[in-house]
């Protein structure tokens, strides 16, 4: 399907030409370099009722991620593992193009890409979340709530999810299962998304850039420089060389973002 929901109306041809002209001079609408992401602010512990939470401001894009931790039954084929489940809601307050109703394909793709990064990057040690093997485990609900959509939700959501998990506690005392303890986060997978505009590739596209991009690529890498997840989007294509270049840039940018996610702390004491 087309990317219509993510296109904030028709960007006039003029805007397209303008962005392309800037790109040919090595710069972008908001003055950034191609491999430069927008200002990133992460406020952990934003929602006290959640077991973990983080408000992410990536430029003007705002995403709130919350973690709830409850008790449930493990899946039959993984009796010795906790459960991770990720959900994303494109709340209609975030954009004139988001509509109320059950998650559409954009929200589902967003949730699944965020989930894949966390899961395949083994961010959480799910084996430490078993209460009684085969019977009772902790379920980790990661909910992504988009508040203001100015482009690149994949990264804002991915940062929010990781930060909220880092912020989260396991509420053992509520169930008389001993003291609360920090959720066992063991890896820090970080996504970085790139857009292809004409022949240029830019990191962290804003809404205007997304609207005229032909292709999109998200690469999630961890603190060891391994790749955990990739997702290409839109109807354009990448060359082999472009993909290699994007992967390399994602590691560099990811390392910087990881510091911000780990360093920042607001609200709750950790």
């Amino acid at each position: 399907m087309s990317n219509s929901k993510f296109t904030a109306g028709v960007i006039p041809e003029m805007m397209k030409n303008y962005i392309n002209r800037l790109a040919s001079k090595g710069t972008r609408v908001d003055g950034r370099g191609f491999d430069e992401i927008r200002a990133l602010k992460i406020t952990k512990g934003y929602v006290k009722r959640a077991e973990g939470s983080a408000l992410v401001e990536l430029g003007k894009t705002k995403v709130l991620a919350g973690v709830k931790v409850e008790i449930g039954t493990p899946f039959p084929d993984t009796p010795n593992m906790g459960i991770l489940t990720t959900n994303a809601e494109l709340a209609p307050l975030a954009s004139p193009t988001f509509e109320p109703g059950p998650p559409g394909e954009e929200a589902i793709e967003l949730a699944r890409v965020v989930d894949r990064g966390i899961r395949e990057g083994h961010a959480i040690d799910l084996e430490k979340l078993v209460i009684e093997e085969g019977e009772k485990v902790w379920i980790i609900f990661v909910d992504i709530h988009v508040l203001d959509y100015d482009g690149n939700l994949f990264d804002a959501a991915g940062y929010g999810a990781l930060a909220a998990l880092i912020d989260a506690i396991v509420p053992a005392s509520r169930y008389e299962l001993g003291d609360d303890y920090k959720l066992p986060v063991q890896h820090y997978p970080v996504p970085v998304t790139f857009a292809k505009i004409g022949n240029w590739i830019v990191a962290d596209p804003n809404l205007d850039e997304e609207s005229i991009a032909s292709a999109r690529l998200t690469v999630t890498t961890n603190e060891e420089g391994h790749i955990n997840a990739m997702q290409k989007g839109l109807s354009g294509t990448f060359t082999y060389e472009e993909v290699q270049k994007v992967i390399n840039m994602s590691m560099d940018i990811g390392a910087k973002v990881r510091e911000i996610i780990l360093g920042d702390s607001d609200g709750k004491e950790n």
């Binding site: 934003y46 929602v47 006290k48 705002k62 709830k68 307050l93 004139p96 609900f141 909910d143 508040l147």
Partner: protein, 241 residues
């Protein structure tokens, strides 16, 4: 209302569990114009509540069959984030949210000059990010600011405020424990200048006199909240100028 319990909600000094007097509001903080994409927006912290609202419109109502030939339709959508409450709330509107969205829509419509914008919708999204009782009245209060921020012409602001009964005492602005273990709750929305009542619900058990006292309390507090609304709007628009 009213899970029975041994919890005392009012102590020997007549103070409530969060230290408030019966007729005392929780701390309230409002901010106007907090979102980039919305036509109007506002944020409120009211006790432990954190609520953000956005307004879109007037815009062509969609789908077409909901359009009304002689006025704008006002569609408020009250929604709680899954992590806003103790037990995770499943995404999507439950029956409570549907009812609240309806009464909030009707209350907000009472102040909007809807006849100016036929065939359009004015969409008000109220997202409860953290919940601590009184979300509907806090939501109306902050939605009113978002409407003003969007430049929607209104004959007055609208103020939400609740009163109720706990341990047999009529009190203002119930918090979560008081709401869970109290005896009655009376959420209201008031037009502060004319004192008209645009939303009124009640559940629990109250005598006529108790209910009257509760309504009086809420109506008085509405004036205080109204002043805070004005301040929040001034702050935004003074800064801008």
């Amino acid at each position: 209302m009213g899970i029975k319990s041994d919890i005392r909600l009012i102590d020997d000094n007549g103070l409530r569990i969060d230290g408030r007097l019966p007729n005392q509001l929780r701390p309230i903080k409002m901010e106007v114009g907090v979102l980039e994409r919305a036509d109007g927006s506002a944020y409120i912290e009211w006790g432990g509540n954190k609520i953000i609202t956005a307004v879109y419109g007037p815009r062509e109502a969609y789908p077409k069959h909901v359009q009304e030939a002689e006025k704008a339709i006002v569609r408020a959508r009250y929604s709680m984030a899954p992590f806003s409450v103790d037990e995770r709330k499943r995404p999507g509107p439950d029956r409570r949210a549907v009812e609240l969205s309806k009464v909030i829509s009707e209350a907000l419509e009472s102040v909007i000059f809807v006849e100016k914008y036929p065939r359009t919708s004015i969409d008000v999204y109220i997202e409860v990010l953290q919940a601590d009782a009184g979300t509907r009245v806090a939501g109306i209060t902050v939605a009113s600011l978002a409407l003003a921020d969007a430049g929607i012409p209104m004959r007055d602001l609208i103020v939400g405020c609740a009163a109720g009964k706990i341990d047999g005492v009529v009190v203002l602005d119930l918090n979560k424990e008081e709401d869970n273990f109290g005896e009655a709750d009376v959420p209201m929305a008031i037009l502060p200048r004319t004192k008209e009542i645009a939303l009124l619900q009640m559940d629990g058990d109250m005598s006529y006199d108790e209910l009257k006292t509760a309504m009086d309390m809420a109506m008085e507090a509405a004036q205080t909240i109204y002043k805070m609304q004005i301040e929040a709007l001034k702050k935004k628009y003074t800064e801008v100028v």
